[in-house]
């Protein structure tokens, strides 16, 4: 029907077309069985990781005055690079009077379930050449990472409790630090002071050359960083353990101020214990319809006209793909296939059950590959 009017479409160089009409260029690639990033439909990008020599473990000495990185990871996936650094803090919780040791009070309902897991406070920064407040993408990424770490039960609350040691300095000034769990001496019973400290974990995630959706890459980098995290042992000075120093002030009531605070031991570190079975890795997929009208005129088989089949793409990359895809799947699954997080945004494509099953299977394969990378990953 088209050749009755002499129509010669203006043709552009592929790169120019990708810039002018990304969705048309996407469809043209799909009709050739390709993707703009020249990967096959279900092929993931390769991931390289290293701890980047950033964390204090690789440094000869702790930075006494400043802050220290407790765990770090540098992840390169295709062109995108993610630098994650984990730092720590200590927060003191005054245990309410009737608090009893919480192992015995095992409670099952949801709210309490969450109270058994620790959390991490991530700040994501994507470098796009702009200055100013965090963009929506950075805020949603941080919030989603925080929620997923909490709900996937990755960090047991116990791992963040501080086993407080006591530093006793005997007469000639040499100090020795006794930790309750190291020697089951009588000391540990005496220590049951009313105060309890827990570690707080902060993660700073910096992304360079953003080239597609970032949640999965940031999640994987955060997991690798957490696996390398080391927490310092902490102790309190003996003579100030329970001493309260009255401060005399003229005309005001004497305030009781406990001047001691918790000090970290620069020589003793213990790795952060994670629930190994809850360690999971993320991958993303997209479902996109083939638009028959936009296909390149196939020379050979004219008959095989498929009307609007949809295809599953793995690991979205590039502006063309991101602009023309409306239904995405985000999966966090462990290598044994346990699902931690599954999010499908429907969009216009028919996200059929087969596609979902295929994506779950691919996610499990990807997770096992990534966790294998972790075990022999560069220390």
């Amino acid at each position: 029907m088209t050749d009755s009017i002499e129509l010669r479409p203006i043709s552009f160089h592929p790169d120019v077309l990708a810039r002018i009409a990304p969705d048309l260029s996407m469809q043209r690639h799909l009709s050739l069985g390709l993707r703009p990033s020249l990967r096959s439909f279900e092929e993931f990008r390769n991931v390289e990781i290293s701890d980047g020599g950033l964390s204090f473990a690789s440094k000869s000495d702790i930075d006494r005055k400043g802050n220290n990185i407790l765990g770090s990871n540098v992840l390169k996936c295709g062109k995108t690079m993610v630098v994650t650094s984990i730092t720590g803090g200590i927060v003191e919780e005054n245990i309410s009077g009737s608090y009893v040791d919480d192992e015995s009070a095992e409670s099952s309902n949801g709210a309490d379930r969450l109270s058994r897991f620790g959390q991490i406070y991530p700040v994501v920064e994507v470098e796009r050449g702009r200055v100013g407040a965090p963009t929506d993408e950075e805020m949603t990424l941080s919030q989603r990472l925080h929620d997923c770490v909490l709900h996937s039960g990755l960090i047991p609350k116990k791992a963040l409790d501080v086993a407080v040691g006591i530093r006793s300095t005997d007469s000639e000034g040499s100090s020795s630090i006794l930790y309750p769990d190291e020697e089951e001496s009588a000391l540990s019973s005496g220590l049951k002071s009313r105060r309890k400290w827990t570690y707080v974990l902060y993660a700073k995630i910096q992304v360079f050359s953003r080239d597609g959706p970032l949640f999965e890459i940031c999640w994987n980098s955060l997991i690798y960083a957490l696996k390398t995290t080391q927490l310092p042992r902490a102790f309190v000075d003996e003579r100030t353990a329970d001493l309260k120093i009255p401060v005399s002030m003229r005309g005001r009531s004497a305030t009781i101020r406990e001047t001691f605070d918790i000090i970290c031991d620069a020589s003793k570190f213990q790795p952060l214990r994670l629930n190994e079975e809850n360690v999971a890795f993320a991958s993303n997929f997209a479902i996109i319809d083939i638009d028959p009208e936009a296909e390149l005129p196939k020379d050979g088989d004219e008959m095989q006209v498929d009307q609007g089949s949809s295809v599953l793409l793995a690991d979205i990359q590039g502006e063309a793909e991101e602009a023309s895809v409306f239904s995405t799947i985000s999966v966090i699954s462990s290598e044994s296939g346990r699902l931690k997080h599954f999010k499908v945004v429907g969009g216009s494509s028919n996200a059929s059950i087969e596609n979902l099953k295929k994506s779950l299977n691919l996610a499990r394969l990807r997770a096992s590959d990534l966790s294998a990378k972790a075990s022999n990953g560069a220390r």
Binding site: V247, S248, M249, R250
Partner: protein, 263 residues
Amino acid sequence: MVLSVTEKSYLHESLASVPPARPDGRKANQFRPIEVFTDFLPASNGSSKVVASDGTECLVSVKCKVVDHAVEEDLVVVDVDIAGHRDDSGLVQGIASTLSKVLSTQLDRSCLRLTKKYSFKLYIDVLVLSSFSHPLTLISFAVYSALNSTQLPKLISSDDDLEVAELPTFHDYDFVKLDVSVPLLFTLAICGKNVLVDPASNESDVANNGLLVTWSNGKVTAPIKTLGLNEDYVSGVSPQSLQDSIKMIEQVAPEVLQALGGI
């Protein structure tokens, strides 16, 4: 003052010629007259106001507070506010950071020490009401005269209070004058081969580069940095003109000190 392109190139030629012909007829190492008033803010321990001949006005107030010097690291806090510039602009934050670093390193902490545990912490607030040329020199003059006229309350309680914890108590109206050697910061403009002291606003619009030199207890000291005075006439300078500027400061600074010292 907005100059047209031709005016700027004319001014640049005249400043770059040897000897430099400055629009207001000053010699290369001559300062513009300034008026300095001190100790006119009753609520602060020390204050000064400097008015330059081109209308730039700068107010400095110094307040002190007793603080435990084991806990507080830096005993001098500087806050700069320049009318017409945003607080997070490069100029304001740069000046504030330069000033606080210079003062915290050059002021020796012993003259702020009160007792074994406590010492004075100085809060220096700088307010530049209207700034035409680069305000740093004027601010440093104002800070110098403010600190030299600061009166600190006189301690009457005992000064070794390590064993018995006792807060320092002060005399009701007697004061002690703070005597401390305060550094001075000078900005110079470099045009071609010439070095000009105290550049006016039109001169700093056409300067090739600027230089910040610090003068403290008798000699040129640490922070010496090149400084951007404008955006469009910036170019490299020869090492020789850097040396000339240092020599000029060594020659000019004593006279400035002597002039400021008179207050």
